[in-house]
């Protein structure tokens, strides 16, 4: 979902992708004040269903009343065309891995463009929910690189 409350297909796609790629997830539900996406995997891999608008969920987490931080995944996108690298050098450990906690301004990856290494930072505090691009893969402008869950425990 974007800041103005509109549906963001990329984010829905990302949720579907998470559900479909993880073998141990049978059902995944992501919700925010205006949107609830629920993905249920059938044996025959039934397509995902998105419902909008969602009724206020009964068991909503005890979020502070307005102005609440929207409870959804935040995408980190490529600000330029280039090559995506998860680590500062081939031998170094990756900047972040799935499940890691990130702070605003923390470098999460590098995009190499025209021999220049551009550090990409997270704009939010949260847990890295998913890394969507393989190390050393080319990325387009605007491509979603990672999803950060700002509501995750400990974030």
């Amino acid at each position: 979902m974007t800041e103005d409350g509109k549906l963001d297909l990329d984010q829905i796609r990302a949720v579907i992708q998470i559900a479909s790629e993880a073998a141990d997830i049978a059902e995944l539900e992501v919700q925010s004040p205006t949107l609830r996406i629920s993905v249920k995997k059938a044996a025959a891999a039934r397509p995902a269903a998105a419902s909008l608008p969602a009724a206020p969920p009964a068991g909503a987490p005890a979020a502070p009343p307005a102005p609440a931080e929207p409870d959804h995944l935040v995408a980190i996108t490529a600000p330029m065309v280039g090559t995506f690298y998860r680590a500062p050098s081939p031998d170094a450990p990756p900047f972040v891995s799935e499940g890691d906690l990130v702070e605003p301004g923390q470098t999460v990856c590098i995009i190499e463009a025209m021999k220049l290494f551009n550090e990409i930072q997270s704009e939010v505090r949260g847990r890295v929910a998913r890394i969507l691009v393989e190390n050393a893969a080319p990325v387009e402008y605007g491509q979603t690189l990672m999803l950060v869950d700002p509501s995750a425990d400990g974030a």
Binding site: V81, T83, A113, M114, P138, E140, Y141, G142
Partner: protein
């Protein structure tokens, strides 16, 4: 020959280049902005890569992102089309530095023609006639007055870095000269970052006639004849034809030779166009050279049977021109109408929007180059050219009849277009007699006569 070519452009010219590549067996890479996700060139190319947000400055003019895409996807050539980076010597130079072939002339040749005052001097030295005027840039009023004494009024003040009609001022009297000079300098400074201006005699009611040339890397230069592009509005061409009506073969041959001399003088390679002004007495003067493919190239292709875009790519790959000047044949007459998403009833106001119906014309002698389709939404960020209709006839009269027929067949709904305007020109008695000049639209076309009712779906 190249294996993979990136098209650094959008719209109908990107589609045209993809077609040429397909016929040559070259794989294609389309680049696109976020506003062009559903564009035809993106669908047609073998690969497509998003290079930036909708504004051209951040996407189609974004050299780092375009060069990164070229390197990541392993292309060996870049075709710049027209507009955007096509006449940017810096871009051509970057391509050369990273060993990717720029489909166009050398950075030196682009730069030589990019500065209009310098280009004028070079052409004069090469024996190509130029409009009488100043030798190089003019800085002071005293210098300007001296030029005025030599060539007389009216004069035109032009920006050295200008082109396409921008940064110009016509001066009719001595008294106006100082103010025009100052305004033009300030305007040029603001528009092009350089206040350098020069003076030329103002040619009244000229025709705009240009010559298509092809030059390979083996010192062979040929011309493919001339086009008349006099039907313009605010220096924007609207209708072009090949050959120019009412001119003798001898005159056209002299024009062709002058264009070849111009290309020679700057070691030009690739496809290019030398533009001339032709005055009422039949004198021709070099105006400028466009170092790229042009929108109106199809009229020349139609009359000569030469595929200019394919040759442009073959020349860039180092191939030798196998076509000699004596073998270039001119058959019949061709006209191109630019169909823009503009409302001719409202001062040609651009009208972006969604095309709800789109049925292009066909039949004998009709070609349509377009990137539009039913359901396509024209983004508001780029130019309004929607389609080019090219009609061929065994003579000019048949070409006009075919064009009329084709435009009446053309069904476009959802956005207003320039089709009603073109029909008006085609029916104009002066146009039919071949009496055209650059202020034709102003003088001969009554735009207020375009009835709003005539717009429905056409």
């Amino acid at each position: 020959m190249f294996k993979k070519l990136l098209i650094a452009n959008r719209g109908e010219i990107a589609v045209r280049i993809i077609r040429a590549c397909r016929e040559l067996g070259i794989r294609t890479v389309a680049v696109y902005s976020e506003a062009d996700r559903s564009a035809l060139h993106v669908r047609m190319a073998d690969e497509a890569f998003c290079i930036g947000p909708p504004p051209a400055a951040e996407s189609y003019l974004n050299i780092p992102n375009i060069m990164s895409t070229a390197e990541l996807l392993g292309v060996d050539a870049i075709h710049p089309g027209y507009g955007f980076l096509a006449e940017n010597p810096h871009f051509s130079e970057i391509c050369r530095d990273v060993n990717i072939t720029f489909v166009g002339p050398s950075p030196e040749a682009i730069a030589a023609m990019g500065n209009k005052a310098a280009a004028r001097q070079r052409m004069k030295a090469a024996g190509v006639p130029v409009v009488p005027g100043s030798d190089g840039p003019v800085r002071t009023e005293a210098e300007a007055l001296e030029v005025a004494r030599a060539v007389g009024f009216p004069l035109i003040v032009k920006a050295s870095a200008g082109g396409g009609g921008r940064g110009m001022r016509v001066v009719h009297t001595r008294e106006d000269l100082r103010r025009a000079l100052q305004t033009a300098q300030a305007e040029a400074e603001a528009a092009f970052g350089s206040g350098e201006v020069y003076l030329e005699k103002y040619v009244e009611e000229p025709r705009h006639i240009e010559v298509q040339i092809l030059a390979d890397h083996h010192h062979n230069i040929i011309h493919l004849g001339a086009r008349d592009c006099s039907i313009q509005r605010r220096h924007q061409k609207l209708l072009e034809e090949c050959p120019p009506p009412g001119l003798r073969d001898r005159f056209l041959r002299a024009l062709g030779k002058a264009a070849v001399r111009a290309a020679h003088a700057i070691n030009y390679t690739g496809a290019g166009t030398v533009e001339f002004l032709v005055d009422r007495d039949g004198h021709f003067y070099f105006m400028e050279m466009n170092t790229r493919i042009q929108v109106e190239h199809p009229v020349t292709e139609t009359v000569t049977g030469v595929d200019i875009v394919k040759w442009q790519i073959r020349i860039a790959a180092g191939e030798r021109l196998t076509l000699h000047q004596g073998e270039v044949e001119f058959r019949g007459h061709a006209i191109e109408c630019r169909i823009n998403a503009e409302d001719p009833r409202h001062d040609f106001r651009p009208a972006p929007g969604t095309i709800t119906a789109f049925v292009p014309p066909g039949g004998p002698g009709v070609r349509v180059d377009t990137h539009a389709y039913a359901g396509y939404t024209i983004p508001p960020y780029y130019d309004s050219l929607l389609a080019k209709v090219i009609a061929w006839g065994s003579d000019r009269q048949e070409a006009i009849s075919r064009m009329r027929r084709a435009l009446q067949e053309f069904e476009i709904a959802g956005v207003p277009t320039t089709i009603p305007f073109h029909l008006m020109v085609l029916d104009n008695a002066f146009f039919r007699r071949g009496e055209v000049y650059t202020n034709f639209v102003q003088r001969r076309i009554d735009l207020s006569a375009l009835a709003p009712a005539a717009s429905s779906g056409r």
